[in-house]
């Protein structure tokens, strides 16, 4: 089970809190700052597992680092090497703390499994619209709850 790399901000209690319900993909609890992608993410050719960054030049998150964050994205795209690249982030210590995947597929399901971080999908609201980069989120995958503390 992952633990956050930094403590929750003290002002959390004052923030607006939302709760989304989803389906378990990988069990466990994780919390941290959200990095939200407005568009699908590629594994092979899309991320650098050595640095934990998005490297696709035309991507909205080009250059952003997901290490130590909760990565929220609509779906996986591109090569079937997707999961292998996310597994490599775990092996190289650059993995996100947790994943929230709006629409899951074989590529991203396997990717979440081999990254071994708490993951939810099939939420009752679009996580890429409800959550913004910088919000603080808590995934309780076993119960299916996703708590969002708006920044």
């Amino acid at each position: 089970m992952s633990t956050p790399s930094f403590p929750a901000p003290p002002s959390l209690a004052a923030r607006t809190k939302l709760i989304l319900r989803g389906r378990l993909v990988v069990p466990g609890i994780a919390e941290g700052e959200a990095l939200v992608s407005p568009e699908p993410i590629s594994g092979w050719g899309g991320i650098d597992p050595a640095k934990g960054t998005i490297i696709e030049r035309r991507h909205a998150l080009y250059g952003a680092c997901f290490r130590g964050k909760i990565l929220v994205f609509p779906s996986a795209k591109g090569s079937s090497g997707w999961a292998g690249f996310f597994q490599a982030t775990r092996l190289q210590g650059t993995a996100p703390l947790g994943l929230v995947i709006a629409r899951i597929s074989a590529k991203s399901a396997l990717g979440a499994v081999v990254t071994r971080v708490p993951t939810l999908t099939d939420l009752d609201d679009d996580p890429c619209l409800v959550i913004a980069t910088g919000d603080y989120v808590r995934i309780d995958a076993d119960s299916g709850n996703l708590e969002v503390y708006k920044a």
């Binding site: 292998g84 597994q87 074989a106 396997l110």
Partner: protein, 429 residues
């Protein structure tokens, strides 16, 4: 998940620790997919031999058994890898020894891969070494459940052959190879194989060539994303090369794993059958202006007409494509500043050699190469700034991977660019 007695035995270690680790991965993966059970498969296309820095370090630490456990089974265990339980093939990987001294590619990677081939060959992995296993004898039958990766092969298996596979990954194909099982979800189930988007082809779009089927595929992927386009309308009858290009392009611009062309592909004989009796959610028109837009998108990275490098054979070329390239190059020679590579499965190069095609291409200064491609191995001839290709997939990926300009056109335009060193391609009606 509901498991059979046989599956429970494998999970509980009756077949040894490697098989138990494989079952553990399949159960974690099945839960992630929301699958209720596993399905039996006896055809796996995966990757074990492709070199990488992470893999090299694991091999150094614990040999190929360790590398397979970590990468191909997602396991932390230490155990020996048994023989493959079901027929398993290696897809495309890095360049082999036949590229030594020709392609700028590290010798230690070639050696690591040769070592891997020896290890996995002993465990029953067929080293097909191509993104097109269906061209060299791995042809699943209609309705057969498989565990394949490589997006262009997955879409071909599902659509052209009517086999059933999800777009698997390295760990799921590894686990499938030791168990003959994969989660029964997605493309394995009837209800998930229906069409979603109808694309009607205008006769004025003139879809009747390798180039045009690639462009139509790129359009279909952009429309359908991860869903299932259904193609209808007025077009020439595609051959296997056209469908190979169409699928690779649709899997590149979108994430298409399955399409139907009633009257051509086997699973749906009519549009009604393709949509399972339901009305299509959306329908789209592919006419001359859509065709021109796709052509411009695939050529938007090209600025300089000075072509350094021509790449053919993505996905790996058929013998007919090699013959066509040889015919276009016969009696000509490449520009001094330009290289031409055509990528083929090694088994088909044997036929190209035997038929005299390789000699014609080599005499002109071109290269018939195997096992890999510039995108997989992240390499091109030294100093390449501008490349030309007849593959929509390679035109899409290579500029991002290697930071070079791209031109997309017909095979003949690409050969012309290799001979003159200049791009003179244009979209003809």
């Amino acid at each position: 998940m509901l498991l059979t007695d046989d599956e429970k035995r494998m999970r509980d270690g009756a077949e040894g620790p490697a098989v138990a680790a494989a079952m553990d991965l399949l159960l974690r993966y099945g839960r992630a997919l929301g699958a209720e059970r596993l399905c039996d498969i006896r055809n796996v296309a995966g990757t074990m031999t492709q070199p990488s820095p992470v893999k090299a370090a694991l091999v150094k630490e614990g040999g190929w058994d360790k590398a397979f456990a970590v990468i191909n089974l997602d396991s932390d265990g230490d155990f020996a890898i048994p023989d493959m339980r079901v027929p398993t093939c290696q897809l495309q990987h890095g360049f082999g020894s036949d590229a030594l001294g020709i392609v700028p590619y590290p010798k230690q990677s070639i050696e690591l891969q040769a070592d891997a081939e020896a290890f996995y060959g002993r465990r029953g992995v067929n080293i097909l070494a191509t993104c097109t296993p269906y061209q060299v004898g791995n042809l699943p039958t209609f309705g057969e459940h498989c565990a394949w990766m490589e997006s262009s092969a997955v879409i071909y298996a599902n659509s052209v052959l009517g086999a059933r596979t999800n777009c698997e990954g390295i760990a799921s194909t590894g686990a499938a190879s030791l168990t003959g099982k994969v989660p029964c979800a997605g493309n394995h189930q009837d209800e998930n194989r229906r069409g979603t988007h109808l694309i009607e082809v205008d006769p004025r779009a003139g879809v009747d060539s390798f180039l045009d089927w690639g462009m139509l595929g790129y359009f279909a992927g952009g429309i359908a994303g991860e869903d299932h386009p259904v193609i209808t309308g007025d077009f020439g009858r595609p051959d296997v090369n056209d469908l190979k290009h169409f699928g690779a392009a649709a899997a590149t611009s979108g994430g298409v794993e399955l399409y139907h062309i009633p009257g051509i592909t086997p699973e749906a004989l009519t549009i009604e059958a393709a949509f399972g009796g339901a009305a299509p959610a959306d329908s789209y028109w592919y006419g001359p202006s859509q065709r021109r837009h796709v052509y411009q998108t695939l050529n938007e990275i090209g600025a300089s007409p000075d072509v350094d490098f021509v790449l053919l054979g993505c996905p790996h070329a058929s013998v007919d494509q090699v013959r066509r390239t040889a015919a276009a190059l016969d009696g000509r020679s490449l520009s001094a500043d330009t290289e031409l590579w055509i990528m083929v499965p090694r088994a088909l190069r044997e036929i190209a050699d035997r038929s005299g095609y390789t000699a014609v291409i080599t005499r002109a200064g071109g290269r018939v190469l195997t096992d890999s491609c510039p995108a997989m191995s992240r390499t091109a001839p030294a100093g390449t700034r501008v490349f030309a290709t007849d593959s929509a997939k390679q035109a899409h990926y290579l500029p991002a991977i290697l930071g070079i300009e791209a031109w997309f056109g017909t095979t003949e335009e690409c050969v012309d660019a290799a001979v003159t060193g200049r791009w003179r391609g244009e979209l003809r009606p």
